[in-house]
Symmetry: C2
Subunit: 408 residues, 2 copies
């Protein structure tokens, strides 16, 4: 296959961001089913929070002006009129009166402050106040947190534990979230048989890209439809791809290892799509990658080598998924820093993604690149992340400090 439209890694990111948009399908789901889903609408508070003024300490609810001038030597005397119970209405106090209030308890009408129990003494029906306090002290006022009608969470927010807790606090227990993008996966190659084939015939290889891509797509928050294996035949790949494309938002075709397969994939993408966006990426591994679009659907032709296939979908797949999911949050790379244990050669003009093992050593984290022919399965495992060597750099030196992008 001739690669006619090779783009840099950064260009491919831009192509993804410029050519696709949120899938826009919306579901109303109970909070329990919303972990890591993306809000499809701005959420405004239906209530004021806290709904009533609360004490932030254990003490006595007072009108602050009743304490003015009080000191150790000259306490104020207030009439004790009862105890406020958690979860119950607090009633009221009149000037010169006080009630005991626990942390979180509702402030009674007539009170505007709470004096900590440490500065008081209860003697029969009276409470001696040994300190003066200002209005509002030790009180969380109604609405201090959220006011009814206020924007709480904007559209595009990813719902994590804190966001779910906030919604729950406001009595919102169903929210509109975007649907999960649907990913379809087809592997191509005459030598491939399903991975659950027990006994291989001569020349056969189990298809493992389907399970690798499926696990990654799930990790990125997608729903997966498996399209199985197609033999190296234009019509066979085309009909399988056409059928699956109608059901999905992202179609992944991963080639076998032969050059012929790649050619068929390219032809199928041309036939199926409105436009080929990328035909070759200046990256190693994974150069022979194709990206096409059909409306808002993305079609990838991925390299057949498992390592290349995994690296490319890992690197670009999550970016595309976030666009389709409507995730508007800033993405922060999860990284660690460590000391490189050997030289990594690299060619200028392309990005290199080098998988690495990270180990704890006396002097900090040790980072060791995992080389090996990309067809080998054992080089797939036991890595914690990868180093990205940009195109303008020619390798990295043993002993230098490197940044490792960690797998999720």
């Amino acid at each position: 296959m001739k690669l006619l439209n090779v783009k840099s890694v950064d260009e491919v990111k831009k192509v993804i961001n410029n050519n696709f948009q949120c899938i826009g399908r919306t579901e109303y789901l109970p909070l329990w089913d919303c972990l890591f889903r993306v809000l499809a609408e701005d959420i405004f508070s239906p209530e004021t929070l806290p709904p009533f003024s609360r004490s932030s300490v254990d003490g006595y609810a007072v009108k602050a002006s009743d304490t003015y001038g009080a000191s150790d030597s000259l306490p104020a005397f207030l009439n004790f009129t009862g105890e406020i119970k958690m979860g119950k209405s607090a009633g009221k106090i009149n000037p010169g009166e006080t009630k005991y209030i626990p942390t979180g308890g509702m402030l009674p009408q007539g009170a505007d402050a709470v004096i900590m129990v440490e500065y008081t003494e209860k003697v029969d029906k009276q409470v001696y106040i040994y300190n003066q306090i200002a209005p509002g002290e030790n009180v969380i006022k109604a609405g201090d947190d959220v006011k009814a009608g206020e924007l709480v969470l904007p559209k595009g927010t990813v719902l994590k534990e804190a966001e779910l807790g906030s919604l729950a606090a406001l009595g919102i227990n169903k929210v509109p979230v975007y649907g999960k993008p649907v990913v379809g996966i087809i592997s191509t190659g005459n030598e491939l048989v399903s991975f659950d084939t027990e006994k291989l015939e001569n020349g056969q290889i189990r298809d493992i890209n389907s399970i690798i891509l499926s696990a990654m797509a799930q990790k990125f928050g997608a729903q997966v439809i498996l399209g199985g294996i197609r033999s190296d035949d234009f019509n066979s790949i085309l009909s399988g791809a056409q059928n699956l494309l109608s059901q999905v938002d992202i179609l992944l075709l991963s080639g076998g290892s032969s050059v012929g397969t790649l050619d068929f994939t390219a032809q199928v993408l041309r036939e199926l799509s409105d436009e080929i966006l990328v035909e070759g990426i200046a990256v190693k591994p994974g150069k022979p990658t194709i990206l096409a679009k059909k409306g808002n659907k993305a079609i990838w032709g991925l390299p057949g080598h498992p390592v290349s296939c995994m690296m490319i979908f890992g690197y670009f797949g999550e970016i595309l998924m976030d666009v389709l999911k409507g995730n508007r949050e800033m993405k922060i790379k999860k990284t660690c820093k460590g000391i490189l244990t050997r030289n990594i050669p690299s060619s200028a003009g392309r990005t290199e993604l080098v998988r690495v093992r990270v180990e704890q050593a006396q002097e900090g984290l040790k980072v060791t690149p995992v080389f090996g022919k990309s067809g080998l399965i054992t080089t797939l495992i036991g890595t914690q992340g990868f180093i990205e060597i940009p195109p303008f750099k020619e390798g990295l030196e043993n002993g230098s400090i490197v940044e490792v992008v960690l797998w999720n």
Copy 2:
């Protein structure tokens, strides 16, 4: 409540590692259900991989010695005896013969190397070879990747896409993994009502810790049983906790905001457990945290304030979960570095966990602490992670470079 056994953050981590062990329950699951599960047994390869010697290029399969001395000016001539098909047996070649072989194709008997198509020319029934090659060149030998009987993945490995792919390649499609730890959650407090209560009565607050803890437990790979809300009453909390403890590996009791609730929780933990391991942690927020054990079951008394509750379970819960899950992989903190935008005061003698917003700025990432009374819901949201200020430090300065531990 008096905190009688306050420990440092590092001591608590040690207590967790020393007092609990893997739950040990094993399930046999198909690979599809194993993402992020932990292997319960060493996995040895049942097969040799690749099962046959393969070509790593498109070219001609040859006996290397037939090419010795070949050059541009003096090619070797071999008899063309056919094309090897992907997925099919490759047959054999005799000395002086060659077959076309695609990348990934099976090496025929009698061949020990593959010459790239670029160095050859096919003329009728003959192939001209313009270069000499050594035995083994462009060949991945049978067993180069994995030999039958070799250890592929040790017990305690977390199964991610690469590990699942490797198992699939070897024809292993069911593996023994540890069961998911079961987490039981009870919220206590007279003021609490279920979070799906539409209209609050005076003095009532919705229980949000249940949903926060449930989301986190799921994130950490646990199964959740909700035990609902118990009022501030020793017998009520005890009977609820006792009943739930029999069904779970980790029991989480989160107090309401009143001091009384905390006391009941402490009493219940003493009654239920074999041993109180931690009673107070030198950390802010979250000091009034209790950890107890009953056999290999962990019982936590967590602070009632949502922010404290979330920070403590976020910080220690994952460590405990990894112990119970049998995860033997080294944990690497996922962090980013940025510039602090204001001073953070902190007291020596305790660890401070300060939630922060991280934003992209011209000069790099900007890190802004989120303060606010810990009862406020709105301070829960919109943070990307936290800064950990160790006990020997007294605050951090505006403009300094800080490390942010990112939420998952």
